[in-house]
């Protein structure tokens, strides 16, 4: 259920050279599952900016975003103030399918939405493994946070400067009950082909509204046309046409 509200910025600090963590206070009641996102209005920019939810703790909302353009650049400079945010957006991860030992695979800024998922899965007693993929050592974030949740964590780096050298698919374990993933599309494709179980994939697309009205982000799936913002961003493996 879409909800519009104002959130107060509590903190906003870099985690790496161009990845920032922003914490906000506000009404998070519309956010009902991990994998959902919020859509943020920024002064001077016409379209809102969709950012995935990294965590909710009480009334605190955590967002982790990479500076990729004007909007995220403007966000990175904010120290305090209020943001007009649409929350409760998107169809998140379905945790009922996880089995006992789900595997979470995140690439770069695909890692943040998996954090809230990992937390929820750990709360329900699952053995959670996480593969966190980055290009290089200096880009790594949230390894400790996943460890603190009690997840078994493998970090991969493309250049081998930390953890396992290679892509996330170089570190796939033998046994897991289900896969949840988020990251750049080439990574999602490789995961799609590499995993032995079913799973859920979170997609990214340029959006107009973010709440299902404009048909700006539609993709074709096995089960028909889906709006990434409303019917996604999480799609089940069986639905994806790859």
């Amino acid at each position: 259920m879409t909800k519009q509200g104002f959130f107060e910025i509590v903190s906003n600090a870099p985690l790496t050279e161009n990845v920032f963590k922003m914490e906000l206070c506000g009404d998070v009641s519309a956010i009902t599952s991990p994998g959902q996102f919020v859509n943020i209005k920024l002064d001077g920019l016409y379209l809102r900016r969709p950012i995935s939810v990294c965590d909710i703790d009480g009334g605190r909302l955590t967002l982790i975003y990479k500076v990729v353009g004007k909007g995220t650049e403007a966000m990175s400079r904010m120290k305090n103030g209020r943001l007009d945010i649409l929350s409760g957006l998107g169809n998140g991860y379905d945790m009922s399918l996880s089995g006992d030992s789900p595997l979470l695979i995140g690439g770069g800024v695909g890692v943040p939405p998996l954090y809230y998922l990992a937390k929820k899965l750990r709360e329900s007693g699952k053995n959670v493994s996480a593969i966190l993929g980055f290009n290089t050592r200096s880009e790594i974030f949230y390894e400790q946070e996943f460890l603190a949740l009690g997840c078994s964590v493998t970090v991969t780096t493309v250049d081998g400067s930390y953890g396992v050298k290679g892509f996330v698919t170089s570190a796939l374990p033998k046994n897991y009950s289900y896969v949840y993933t988020c990251g750049p599309e080439p990574m999602l494709k490789a995961v799609f082909k590499g995993i032995s179980t079913s799973g859920q994939f979170s997609f990214e697309e340029r959006m107009g509204c973010g709440f299902g009205a404009c048909m700006g982000c539609t993709c074709e799936t096995v089960t028909g046309y889906k709006r990434i913002c409303r019917d996604g961003p999480v799609l089940k493996k069986e639905e994806i046409k790859w």
Binding site: Y46, R206, C209, M215, T218
Partner: protein, 303 residues
Amino acid sequence: MVNTSVSLCGIALDNPIIPASGTFGYGYEFAELYDINILGTFSFKGTTREPRLGNPTPRIAETASGMLNAVGLQNPGVDKVISEELVKMKKVFHKKVMANVSGFSLEDYVYTCKRLDACGEVGWLEVNISCPNVHGGGMSFGTSCESAAKVTAAVKKAVKKPVIIKLSPNVTDIVSIAKACEDAGADGISLINTLLGMRIDLKSRRPLLKNTTGGLSGPAVFPVALRMVYQVAGAVKIPVVGMGGIATAEDVLEMMLAGAAAVEVGAQNLVDPMACKKIIEDLPKVMEKYGIKNLNDIIGGAL
């Protein structure tokens, strides 16, 4: 107390605010946020005879004070619109709705209009001869007086409900096309559809939109839309529905002074889903500020 009610082709509206086709779906997403029965009416997502997926993504790009879209008339086709979408819509919207129709041939337009004309919940048919994002249809009907008149006459012959023809601004003389539609029997004119535009991604050196071009909307186009509404309203006797970049109650008043009997609000719904509610709530206050007691008194006031 001020009077915000107006009449559009013989049907009374509580206020002149109409969310524009393609920015409001069938209303359900907005009904989660506010009671959409406060609207004058709304124009639902453009409907074609057959289902359409639309164009490949990216379909959306930002611009200064606006946006480009190249959705390409994605819709489930008239059968499903009637059997599924309008059934769901009726649960959240209880007024007469405006049915927006597009096509790729005269027969398409006539068929789809006829089907929607038979639906009790439809009050008006808004015939889109101006979509810039599809090939071999849409806008190609709206760029010459002859083809615009042909579509108008064919649809008018086939239906009972008021027919509003939605015009493209991507023409050399919009006034002559509006007049051709009026002469062919149109009950109203709505304008403007989006202005054809593009953006290029500096990193990839390729167009940002997969369709290369898209339609520009948002506050950036308001002055262009206002000018065209002013010109058309000055030349035809049938009601004109003004749209293009409307974001505030003040914009509504400007549009009505330029000759609009009602207005459509488009892109603003996407960036602020509460936009139409805010405009409807602000309208009486802004009317009072400018000494307007009855909206009908200002229609065409600047002509």
